[in-house]
Symmetry: D2
Subunit: 224 residues, 4 copies
């Protein structure tokens, strides 16, 4: 007689997206950080890192493929915010594409909806306050941001939340990250954060996001 | 026989709100600017300026009274954004109160909805791009802003748009304004804009908002 | 018999210099402010406003002509500091030309002395702390600055102080001023100060500089 | 018979100073970076790291002891510039103590000379342009600064250059450094640079300062 072996439990997956370089810079920290943790199991789930093109529309197609392929329980999008000095979990995605510069395919939508007929905005379902608190406790600079802009980052963030709105068990959100020191060396005056520091920040972010399903109540707003 | 006299046409009304001082400052430019144009007829409508308390909830009660009293066809809320150097028409109001400091009544809501069950956000129905273009053409510094913060300004802006959502013929929005020079003289390093300049900016804003019912297509987004 | 008539007392002169436009901008507030007070007698002395070319060397030649012509008892140089939001009396001029961009004649000296063999620096002989205090008391934003940069402004400031070092009775210095609102309207994000406000600031500066010969002791330094 | 052994050549010494913490912060990156390279021989000389008290006067006494003890051929002072995002070699030290806050002993000099009767300023004798160029080439953010402020950093910098003016063979200068990430985690919004990055920057700075005795000609000035 043969014992039926229990199927090994498939560990849950966390999808982390980063962007290809844009705006004539040869590197994008959002992807460098994401791929550094591809395959990492630290938070009780396996990280899958996926690079998105910095192109309106195409980025969402690639996101959809990754969602279908990996069936993640948690999705964290990363994007570069040149000029910010901290990791900034985004609070809200808005239904607006308004490109200040062309994307990598030369597209420059102005004041168009990300999703025609979609709601004006979605709030992140990541515990943004708990993430900021955990990052700071680990000595990592962080603040909640109330705007993800109107470029491809917000585009992907909104599209992601629009999809997750129909998948109640899957949480997700977006974090803007600073430039790398090597970028600041080419753009005098730009704040930066070392890659090691940013990878550590992603670990803390993912662990917190997996562990905290209901955000803490902590002051973290902006007067304007 | 008695001729029926034609009823004199009542000129349409524009409601402009400003805030009382807060955060220990003796003056608030948003109210100084608003009241400077109380009764002004320049844009084909009569301006009514109303001061709101810098208090969550109470500010909206006062707004409701003003809406009922004046039945405006256009509503422009003004609020101080200390640290900004330009007039910044706000693009979007979000359904979130998250007070970094207590309001003038000591209230400090954290991550609460402005309107329970309301949509995540409302877009301004002012022609924000056209307003920025008109202001710049008049030599007045201006940019579109993508976040009104999470304090009483955003609270009033969201509550306003929630009400206007049910009054199709009435448009409205919010503009954050810089500190006055006298405030910057007490807070070294703060950018400022003279009261005269700001009053001129309000005139241009109101004229443009009355004349332009469908916004222009103009680049004015932010990368992040 | 003829009475000898007493010669009418010649009122002392204050020389105020401003610069012509540079860096492709059609206007320079330093000259607009200076010329607005040309001939003004408010502080017990008559203002003579002189425009300097934004050219290394030539600017000093023009300054020398003005010093010879007007024999001023006080000299205040004005220059634009795009990006500053306040009136900033400069504390110190350094013996260094280091041009980040070419001047209006295409000259771009790098790490050259303003005056070969001159001392490394001169301190302003204006009462910079008293001027800042008076400006703030009048509701005008102001702070002491510890660097006038290394472009034509510092060049003129250093050359002026080098000349005044041999004229014990004549005091002088330099003030950097913000952009005008019309400039900020062309350069989104730039802080600005209205021309009226700046002219008022020049009045306060000149009155204080004429009245206060020994500066007050007031905190006004920078950590770095 | 006893052979006389040749005396081992004493390698030249580089003195690097950092400061103790101040302004209520538990750590000071200037000292953390300096002590990380104490004993390092990488640039053809041995580094000696010395911590200075953040106290006017006492800091210079400690500096004098270190100069006497180590007889360095090169001296590099380091100090924290909270708010800067780059390594900033300072161009010039001015003869002025003007403390915005009390030092660690409660002293707060206002507009006093560092050295009574000393010259108004000294230029750094480090090759500041070459250092910035080397740092950037190594992917490390850096810019020349034209003001070291008027607090204890400038005080030590000026006192150092005053002493080196009489030791023709010894060069020296000062570099302001950014906050550490752990400090920025406590002060939201502050730019920072990781300790590893800063230690790497010190290595590049020392190697360049030892190798380059005459600075390169490179654009690096400021308009104001």
């Amino acid at each position: 007689m043969q014992m039926s072996m229990p199927r090994p439990a498939v560990p849950p997956t966390v999808l982390v997206t980063g962007f290809e370089p844009f705006d004539q810079d040869p590197v994008n920290p959002s992807w460098e950080v994401a791929r550094a943790l591809d395959g990492w199991d630290g938070g009780g789930a396996t990280v899958r890192a996926v690079q998105l093109p910095c192109v309106f529309g195409l980025a969402v197609e690639r996101l959809d493929q990754a969602l279908a392929q990996w069936q993640p329980r948690l999705v964290v999008g990363l994007g570069l915010a040149a000029g910010r000095s901290e990791w900034t979990p985004e609070r809200v995605a808005i239904n607006c594409d308004d490109a200040r510069i062309p994307d990598n395919a030369g597209r420059q939508p102005v004041d168009q909806a990300v999703v025609q007929g979609g709601p004006a905005a979605y709030f992140s379902t990541l515990p943004v306050k708990a993430i900021v608190q955990s990052l700071r406790a680990a000595g990592l600079p962080a603040s909640v941001s109330n705007t993800a802009g109107t470029f491809v980052c917000n585009h992907v963030f909104y599209a992601l939340m629009h999809r997750l709105a129909e998948r109640p068990g899957v949480r997700g959100g977006f974090v803007h990250v600073p430039a790398l020191p090597e970028q600041a060396a080419r753009h005098p005056g730009l704040p930066s954060m070392a890659l090691d520091t940013q990878v550590q920040a992603l670990r803390v972010t993912l662990r917190t996001a997996l562990a905290v399903t209901e955000d803490i109540v902590a002051v973290g707003g902006q007067l304007h």
